[in-house]
């Protein structure tokens, strides 16, 4: 229990440090990027000299990187994430409007991917038919060779939901690991002995296989969240889904760096939380397994 507390504290600390470092790095990149101190609005002939000066003054305070970053953190603590340069709306409002759709898309996509992964890798481990194994491995391998953006385009072409595209992007990556883990677990001597003694398949699965593979599968699940978040960009951008991925793409095309910094920090947090969560649950499963063995 004490070990778990230390792990939680360690994960929380690394989360905090990574977010701070990530934010600082993003802010530095924004500061160093070409065109940081330029604003297209200054070219508008309708603006008076005072308005142009006011725009310059508003930008001037962001000139110092430390001031830029600390004022950002200060504002962020009070819920103000700044204003998007391209869309002219508060970043917080933009994020709040788009997060639910992305969450739904990612949840559906990940659920579909993992149902497919578990079903196919379990059946591969149970059946142990070389032809079945070859076909499933070939299909997942072929999906790995198709760019995520092409899968998104094909989902538009064949009018299938974006969540299926996310699932097909995540599935081949998770299947490769899950299949290897399950096949290896089923070839362990004590499981072969249990089968020979006539133990039921479900009992073998839940009592002997799941506790062995669960921590590693959870780690893969954590990584698959990161893959799914990355896949959200092409899927939302090309399928016309107004989520965080599409917002990031629009911000990248418009070089709306304040918006990109906020999305970067948010995405870093989500992926780190997913990985830390998987790590902690994995440790709990490992701990309970060790206690059972003792």
């Amino acid at each position: 229990m004490r070990g778990l507390k230390w792990k939680l504290a360690g994960n929380a600390l690394s989360l905090l440090v990574t977010v701070l470092l990530g934010g600082m790095l993003s802010a530095t990149l924004v500061r160093l990027a070409p065109g940081f101190n330029a604003d297209e609005r200054e070219l508008d002939p309708h603006l008076s000299a005072e308005s142009v000066q006011a725009l310059r003054n508003a930008r001037h305070q962001d000139g110092n990187i430390f001031h830029f970053y600390f004022s950002y953190m200060q504002r962020a603590a009070s819920g103000d994430l700044g204003t998007s340069l391209a869309l002219g709306q508060p970043v917080r409002t933009l994020l709040r409007e788009r997060i639910p759709l992305t969450l739904r898309l990612l949840t559906m996509g990940l659920a579909l991917a993992w149902i497919l992964t578990i079903a196919l890798s379990l059946s591969a481990a149970w059946l142990r038919l070389s032809i079945y194994d070859t076909v499933t491995t070939a299909v997942s391998g072929a999906l790995l060779c198709i760019p995520a953006a092409v899968l998104a385009l094909l989902s538009v072409l064949w009018s299938v939901p974006g969540s299926l595209a996310i699932a097909l992007i995540v599935f081949p990556r998770s299947y490769r690991y899950a299949r290897n883990l399950l096949v290896k677990a089923y070839s362990r001597p004590h499981i072969i002995a249990a089968r020979a003694k006539g133990l039921g398949e479900s009992r073998i699965l839940f009592w002997h296989v799941v506790p062995v593979v669960a921590p590693q599968l959870l780690a893969v699940a954590g990584v698959s969240v990161s893959v799914a978040v990355g896949a959200a960009i092409p899927v939302e951008a090309l399928c016309g889904l107004p989520g965080i991925g599409q917002l990031a793409w629009q911000a990248a095309l418009a070089r709306d760096l304040p918006l990109l910094v906020n999305i970067t920090i948010m995405v870093t947090l989500v992926t780190l939380l997913a990985n830390s969560g998987a790590d902690v649950i994995g440790s709990m499963v490992r701990g309970s397994e060790t206690r059972q063995e003792a």
């Binding site: 072929a142 060779c145 995520a148 092409v150 072409l157 793409w249 990109l260």
Partner: protein
Amino acid sequence: MSFWRKLACVLLMLTLGASAAANWLAPAGYAKQYREATDAPPSRDHWLGTDEIGRDRFARVLYGTRISLMLAPAAALLSTLMAAFIGGLAGYLGGAWARMAMAMTDLFLSLPWLFLLITARALMPLNVSPLVSVVVTFLLLGLLGWTAAARVLCASAASLRASDFVRQARAAGLPGQRLFWVHVVPNLKPVLYAQFWISIPVFILSEANLGILGLGVAEPMPSWGSLLRELEGLVSVREEPWKFVPLILLVIVVTSFQLLLSKQEEVAA
């Protein structure tokens, strides 16, 4: 070598050969416009038809293949060298250096790859000349793609540092720098080669993703990514199946790499 590996090797050689002979197979070049035949279907003059502004699609596929197949290995070389320097040195030095380098690596790894790429690409000017856009795209891939390889190399260098022959060399008074370059780096070569070859298909796919999203190689320069943008707005597969040729070629090349690299992946792991 198995049948499938031989086939993959032949397909890769054929693709490389055809793209190298692009000047001879399509002498008109990738940017020439045939204004009397815009968006034309395949014909004797244009084997894969023309695009919406009348450029020969076959020529663009050949030149695009050349760009993708030449620059992806260059980016892979850059990322492998960076991984060798950061990961190898961190693993060899150990202690606080290794912890710091791996913390930085974890920071990069915690960001989804495509997300990191579009953010970094957006930091560069988007309205640059086509040649600069090619260099920027593949340079970014090389500069950002070293993290996973650095982790593997750090672990390999750390295990070498603890090995008997390195301890013996150190005890014999060999200077640290010489020990690193003469005894550690040569032993990291198998892992370095594996990481280099594994990175190539990853970078080909990443460039394709960036290109489709409009953040890759700029027009009129072709690349697999920019060629695949034509699939956007397609109504049905049967309507213009020849537009899928770049995708089929990309899948064949990446699959061939995967087939040839299955042993390299074991080394890298």
